[in-house]
């Protein structure tokens, strides 16, 4: 029962089942569906889903209802639906078509788009579900469709095939029971990872042998964490005592990964279909709302209030006005009997609704469509940008979410990772320090070899005999303690080729540091091959010394421990533990060795920005090793809390080490990293570097990339300082330093970079941060945080070093939730940045990612991905800026033009007895937003460039002009609204005075109400379009075409609409109205006059503001045009003065 429930839940496309363990905590799988021998524990059989992947949202049958439901959940669509229904039900001034048609259009377009996307998903699903899979039935190989796969089936996967479901790796064609896997089709990660077959089954190489396997697998129920898997396999031999083996993620082959370098493997399916980890991790991206969208929604609410109050005012006035019976029902305009009978309140309510319908266009349905189109189409400009295309890697920028385009123009904090983001992540082995002696390789660089490289030179005195042994051990440690693999064949796509020693071999590792080290050692010591066979039975070969080592255990790396170890057995039978890791994690565990010398060397190297690693070892006596073996075995079998137990075990094993030495690896800065950071800081963006590196290394990098400048005063908030004073004192002291400055000199946003200002840079390390974040006993935790935030706010640059991945996330969250709610952007390239990035993700700030060497995992989940850090500059300063000004104009203009549109209607009610008579004809009501005024603003919002791209790049400070949502502040919004109101007044009363008690034709004939409306409408369309033309700073032929084209379209449409008796209409009120109007001279004059009057104040305001209070942007515009404008002005002025004197 519970199991069925769980399946239902997981199938309903919300794979994040938080409390899944609570339902059924483990599942038991009979390998090959063979019942275990009797007498073993009886398992409750469970039902598992088949291997069908369903990523599509809809089926053929539920598409229409489900899609409609989803669409009408959007508040705007729902609002329009309500209006439409009201129009259908009650007698309203406008026909239901006027709101029904646009709504229908919007809904249909969205439905088609979503339907198409879903169809693509269906196709992809089908392709996946139907691809053939080999599996074993009764000792024979059978081909079946992937979707028919069941849990417990034994599957055979050949080289270059992807795994059809999550498998437990039973055996491989390779003798050592390993296989290589690439997750390229998942995340673009092309490096090979090694997985291990279950020890006791790796001997089963053929179908027949596999058939004879008798085993059950116990494992946890599916959960989305890709990195965690615990399970247990019971293998029943002929002897009735089953062998129990632990299963970890190294035994698990995930769906979506591809088998490489291995002829074939056998595996047993444990999670299928929607229960595979890949499927559980698939989440449709939640829609993020940008700041612009939030302001848009606020404005909408304001307009909704205006709408309601307008309707209310009119309703009340109507009944006041009608209180005299001759007005309510004069003899010439009688009501029907049913109208008379109606209850007063019902009538009033109906009237209210009718007014609502009449004015509902003030909230335009088309705005949503236009905004979405703008975002969708606009994001192409990022992907098309040639400047952001990286020639080396052949990568261009990616836009995964177009919802946040304009947010790129609003970024206040950039959180960047250091390695791989600021730096190349292209490691170069620089030096090593053994027992205090420094060794420098000649010219060694991974990937490139300079021919005359010969060996490692010692730069100081030659070592004594005693240290010879240590030296040997050190290089042995470097050769052995790593996870580098050797790839022999040379048509590999891996980048690191080493063409010496006659035979090309490639090192593959998930860590570039390791590759650099191994290559360095190889170059220096002529180690020709470092064979790594990663199982207990494997050997490590160090041919230079001609020693063979048996690899006993790997204590693999993790970012919490920050070290890794191997236990090896030499040919002579000695057992060593070699440990390599960050200095902070090694030094406390060392009991012997020249700690001080090495530490000083490490620190010196760190100051130079090199990445350092320490190497230590210890010799194990066999009894010790036995103990370790047992300990590890015990923890590995554990089903619960295995991670924790493992960590404890490692802690126990890696102690009492003897320090050997340290290595230094250089990671060069990415090109133009400094330039980019400088530009970002000039743009008023605070750049934070979050890294796991040592403080000295990180600080050096920060100086190199100009995050800190020479005049930057560094504030340190580090463990060392906190040890000296209490955290409380340090914080208060720092804040005093910072605030003294900002107190005496009010920190001006615009002069924040002036030379006389003291620049502060803050360095904080992980330990200090956790102290700050830790809630205090008395519960006043927020106190320190506030203080910390206050300090951060006044620092132009912050460096957070020694950060655990989780702490990166904490920092982002802290800033994001601080009281100004700044827009944050996180940028990183690797798995360790994901948590920070995901945190930034939640609060809707965008985060970008650099497509780096560490794979494209970040790129796939990011909102934006760029090939190099330097591209961030153009991304924010140019694209972000453009998107922001474009969309803010779009939003404001939409509200403006609809005020212009609807306010005359409101005014007209005062002259038509509050009878909800429309001013414009239905067709014009419908088409105003759809066709007459839609395209110019859309094109504007795609093409506008108020300053040129080069200027924006050259002058980053322009970014400050739009900071803090400057173009959508209340002031601006109110200006636009009042402009709309003014224009509406001009249109209406202009037409009113034209029509009042006179005739405007030369034949004495009289115009009616429709001509009146037509005049208002014509003036309006021209004003609104020309207003946009005045705002356009970038007139390409497309803008010309669209602006003049839409005016022309309006005229042509009106001629046509009024030129024919339309047979399908039951009224002909517009017949010849437009043409008659054009035949009247005063109408032309009025159009010219009223358009001029409407535009005059806006032009005046623009010119005055530019003249008296110019923004930085306007200054730059003026400067760019200075020469030409100056000339033309002088010319014009001389002309005007001459005409004046005349």
């Amino acid at each position: 029962m519970s199991c069925i429930l769980r399946q239902l839940l997981t199938l309903s496309s919300f794979p994040q089942c938080a409390g899944e363990e609570n339902w059924v905590d483990s599942r038991t799988i009979y390998v090959g569906h063979r019942e275990p021998p009797p007498g073993t524990e009886a398992y409750i059989p469970q039902r598992y889903p088949d291997n069908r992947i369903v990523s599509s949202k809809y089926t053929f049958w539920n598409f229409i209802p489900k899609n409609l439901f989803e669409q009408f959940r959007r508040i705007a669509n729902f609002y329009f639906l309500i209006i439409f229904l009201v129009q259908l039900i009650i007698d309203t001034p406008t026909s239901p078509v006027t709101s029904g048609l646009p709504l229908f259009f919007v809904i249909t377009v969205t439905a088609i788009k979503q339907g198409y996307e879903d169809w693509l998903r269906h196709k992809a699903d089908n392709a996946m579900n139907q691809c053939p899979v080999h599996f074993i039935q009764h000792g024979k190989l059978v081909r079946k469709q992937s979707r028919k796969l069941r849990v417990g089936d034994i599957v055979m996967v050949k080289e270059n095939e992807t795994f059809p479901c999550d498998l437990i790796f039973l055996s491989s064609s390779r003798g050592d029971g390993t296989c290589h896997v690439t997750t390229a089709s998942l995340d673009g990660e092309s490096s090979h990872k090694t997985h291990h077959a279950v020890q006791d089954t790796k001997g089963f190489h053929t179908e027949e042998e596999i058939e004879g396997l008798h085993a059950t697998v116990e494992c946890e129920q599916p959960q989305p964490d890709l990195y965690k898997f615990v399970g247990r396999i019971n293998v029943y031999n002929d002897l009735n005592d089953p062998v129990v083996r632990p299963l970890g993620s190294e035994n698990l082959l995930l769906r979506g990964a591809t088998l490489k370098n291995t002829e074939k493997i056998f595996g047993v399916a444990i999670y299928t279909g929607m229960e595979t980890k890949m499927a559980l991790n698939y989440q449709s991206k939640s829609q993020k709302r940008s700041a612009v969208e939030k302001s848009m929604n606020v404005f909408l609410i304001v307009y909704l209030c205006i709408l309601i109050s307008k309707a209310l005012i009119n309703t009340v006035l109507k009944y006041v006005w009608q209180s005299e019976p001759f007005r309510d029902e004069p003899w010439y305009n009688q009501k029907t009997e049913s109208e008379r009978q109606r209850n007063l309140f019902l009538r009033a309510f109906t009237d209210f609704l009718a007014f609502m319908v009449l004015f509902n266009y003030i909230i335009p349905v088309s705005m949503y469509v236009t905004v979405e189109m703008q975002k969708f189409l606009g994001s192409y400009f990022i992907t098309w940008d040639e400047d952001m295309f990286d020639e080396d890697t052949g990568e261009g920028p990616l836009v995964n979410t177009s919802d946040l385009n304009e947010e790129l123009g609003q970024v206040e904090y950039v959180f960047t990772d250091k390695t791989g983001t600021l730096t190349e992540n292209n490691m170069e082995f620089k030096e090593c320090c053994i027992e205090g002696h420094v060794y420098v390789p000649h010219v060694v660089c991974n990937g490139q070899v300079v021919p005359d490289s010969s060996g490692i030179d010692m730069i100081d005195s030659s070592p004594g005999v005693s240290s010879r042994e240590r030296e040997e051990l050190f290089f042995r440690a470097l050769c052995l303690c790593h996870t580098v693999q050797v790839k022999d064949d040379d048509n590999m796509d891996g980048p690191r080729m080493s063409p010496d020693s006659g035979k090309s071999c490639v090192y593959i590792s998930s860590s570039p540091d390791e590759v650099a080290l191994v290559e360095g050692v190889q170059r220096g010591l002529a180690v020709t091959r470092i064979q790594y066979c990663a199982d207990q039975g494997g050997f490590r070969n160090c041919p230079h010394f001609f020693f063979r080592f048996e690899l006993l255990e790997i204590l693999s790396f993790d970012s919490v421990r920050r070290r890794m170890s191997v236990i090896v057995k030499s040919a002579t039978g000695e057992i060593y533990l070699f440990c390599k890791g960050a200095d902070s994690s090694i030094f406390p565990r060392v009991i012997e060795g020249k700690v001080d010398q090495i530490r000083s060397r490490v620190e010196r190297n760190a100051v130079e920005g090199l990445r350092t690693l320490c190497v230590a070892y210890k010799r194990l006596i066999p009894e010790e090793y036995e103990g370790i073996c047992k300990l590890l075995q015990a923890t590995k079998v554990a089903l619960q809390d295995r991670e924790k137990k493992l960590a404890e075990a490692y802690e126990q094993i890696e102690k009492d080490l003897i320090l050997l030495g340290a290595t230094a690896v250089e990671d060069r800065l990415q090109e133009k990293a400094a330039d980019t950071i400088e530009a970002l800081q000039k743009a008023g963006i605070k750049v934070w570097v979050l890294t796991g590196d040592k403080m000295e290394t990180a600080a050096a990098t920060c100086y190199a990339c100009k995050l800190f400048r020479r005049n930057t005063q560094l504030l340190e908030l580090t463990t060392k300082k906190i040890e000296e004073q209490s955290l409380h004192d340090v914080l208060f002291e720092l804040s005093k330093t910072v605030l003294r400055c900002s107190g005496s000199l009010t920190r001006d946003n615009f002069s924040g970079l002036s030379a006389d200002m003291q620049d502060y840079g803050l360095i904080i390390d992980g330990a200090a941060l956790s102290l700050i974040m830790k809630p205090r006993e008395d519960g006043s935790s927020s106190n320190y945080r506030e203080l910390f935030l206050e300090i951060c706010r006044n620092c132009s640059a912050v460096l957070c070093c020694r950060m655990a991945p989780l702490q990166k996330a904490q920092i982002v969250k802290l800033i994001k939730l601080s009281k100004e709610h700044p827009i944050t952007l996180a940028i990183g390239d690797g798995a360790n940045d994901v948590s920070m990035i995901l945190e930034a993700h939640v609060g809707h700030p965008p985060w970008a990612s650099v497509i780096g060497k560490e794979g494209r995992q970040a790129a796939r989940n990011s909102d934006y991905a760029i090939p190099k850090f330097k591209h961030l500059k153009k991304m924010l300063l140019v694209h972000g800026h453009f998107y922001y000004i474009r969309i803010s104009e779009l939003v404001q203009y939409f509200f403006y033009k609809n005020v212009c549109f609807i306010f005359p209607q409101f005014l007209y009610q005062f002259f038509c007895g509050f009878s909800q008579q429309t001013l414009y004809d239905t067709a014009y009501l419908t088409l105003y937003n759809i066709s007459f005024t839609s395209l110019p603003i859309l094109l504007y919002s795609l093409m506008e460039q108020h300053v040129s791209i080069d200027t924006l790049k050259r002058d980053p400070s322009l970014y400050r002009d739009i900071a803090k949502n400057a173009l959508l502040r209340w002031r601006v919004f109110i200006y636009w609204t009042f402009l709309g109101l003014f224009d509406a007044l001009v249109f209406f009363f202009g037409a009113y005075f034209m029509f009042e008690n006179t005739t405007v034709t030369n034949n004495g004939q009289i115009f009616g109400n429709w001509t009146f409306g037509m005049l208002v409408f014509t003036v309006m369309v021209f004003t609104v379009t020309l207003k946009l033309a005045l705002d356009t700073h970038y007139w390409t032929w497309i803008n010309h075409f669209v602006i003049w084209g839409s005016l022309l379209f309006y005229i042509v449409f009106s001629l046509l609409w009024g030129g024919i008796i339309w047979p399908f209409l039951n009224y002909q009120r517009m017949y010849y109205v437009f043409i008659q109007m054009l035949s009247s001279g005063p109408a032309w004059l009025a159009v010219v006059l009223l358009v001029t009057v409407s535009l005059l104040p806006d032009v005046l305001k623009k010119v005055l503001c530019r003249q008296l209070w110019p923004t930085a942007t306007e200054r730059v515009q003026a400067k760019n045009q200075c020469l030409s404008v100056e000339q033309s002005t002088i010319f014009m002025l001389s002309q005007t003065s001459s005409s004046l004197s005349f």
Binding site: I53, S55, M128, T183, A184, L186, Y227, E250, R255, M278, F326, P330, Y332, N333, Q334, W384, D385, E386, G394, G396, N425, S510, D513, R562, M564, R611, G830, Q857, F882, F911, C912, S915, Q917, Q945, N997, T999, T1001, Q1005, G1008, N1009, G1013, Y1034, N1039, I1061, Q1068, Y1071, P1082, L1085, L1089, T1092, V1093, L1096, L1104, V1125, E1126, S1128, T1129, M1132, L1133, T1136
Partner: protein, 325 residues
């Protein structure tokens, strides 16, 4: 420290349907459009560019305004054709219930609509089980006073002035939009089966003796059917054509207006007026347009001067400021 990652760190769950995620992005085209470098005119509204515009507007608008104003004021002199209007005030022809209370199909001569008028005409749709032609409130409330103008000669024998009742409605209305029901028979036959609007004295086919001005195409009727925009409105009633160039259309003298009073306006506090007016190329007398043009022209000119001053001042102060920037 080592930025070493376990291999498992890099297994990623992408959407299961996107196997092609690794495809390298093709190099973007280097077209002006895609690179946002289309050649463009980049105007900026500065005082310098706008100043001349203000002066030009001023210089153009003021003469136009004066021209219009003079034309409009000259209209009083009774030369050329004289147009006779009736005006109603406080009459809401633009009330929604009123505006829609008509059936354009019926008025266009559609036979089925003639006998079965649109529901919009309620409560003026049927009378005693017969369809009303023309139906609706507008038609029902048609203005039916008769105005006659007499010149009181010296012998105090009044001479009637000829009032032309044609071409007072839009040509397209008279010839296209309004049509009598089709048929060869007499108009009365063609309207058979319908009844007159309740308030009318005569049925629709007895509006005028001239068959070309009778029924739905009666011009008085058409004029009335074009609903006015505002509650105080005037409608063209008759034309007084100028007979010869030598005599004014309406020579000075005493005139006598005979009104057959049918149309009640007191109940809704309305007023009736009769207006005689000549028409210029720009219509009747309306000072608004002229004054507005003069005003806007002057304002624009004034603003131009103000801007000139500001521009001048600013230029002096900003030249130094510009250097410091």
């Amino acid at each position: 420290m080592a930025m070493n990652y376990n291999s498992k760190d890099e297994v990623d769950g992408g959407p299961p349907c996107a196997p092609g995620g690794t495809a390298k992005t093709p190099r973007p085209d280097n077209t002006a459009f895609k690179q946002q470098r289309l050649p463009a005119w980049q105007p900026i509204l500065t005082a310098g560019t706008v100043l001349p515009t203000f002066f030009i507007i001023g210089l153009i608008f003021i003469p136009i305004g004066i021209g219009i104003f003079v034309t409009s004021n000259n209209i009083r002199e009774i030369e050329g054709n004289v147009f006779m209007y009736y005006a109603l005030s406080n009459f809401y022809q633009n009330h929604r219930r009123y505006v829609k209370s008509r059936d354009d199909s019926q008025l266009n001569g559609d036979s089925s609509a003639l006998l079965n008028p649109s529901k919009e005409c309620e409560p003026y749709r049927r009378n005693e089980d017969k369809p009303i032609a023309p139906c609706g409130a507008i038609a029902n409330s048609m203005f039916n006073d008769t105005l006659e103008l007499f010149l009181m000669g010296n012998d105090s024998y009044p001479t009637p002035i000829t009032l032309k009742k044609k071409s007072i409605a839009w040509w397209t209305d008279k010839n296209v939009k309004f049509r009598n029901p089709p048929g060869e028979e007499s108009l009365e036959e063609r309207f058979k089966g319908t009844t007159k609007p309740v308030n009318w004295l005569n049925p629709v086919y007895m509006l005028d003796s001239d068959p070309d001005n009778n029924g739905f195409i009666n011009e008085d009727f058409i004029v009335w059917m074009r609903t006015a925009a505002l509650p105080n409105f005037r409608k063209l009633y008759r034309l007084i054509e100028r007979k010869s160039d030598l005599h004014p259309t309406l020579p000075a003298g005493r005139y006598y207006l005979n009104i057959t009073y049918n149309y009640p306006v007191h109940s809704f506090d309305g007023r009736k007026r009769m207006i005689l007016s000549t028409i210029s190329w720009m219509g009747g007398k309306n000072p608004f347009l002229g004054i507005a043009y003069i005003a806007i022209g002057s304002i624009s000119f004034f603003l131009g001067v103000v801007l000139l001053v500001i521009n001048h001042k600013y230029r002096n102060s900003s030249n130094t400021a510009d250097i410091t920037i």
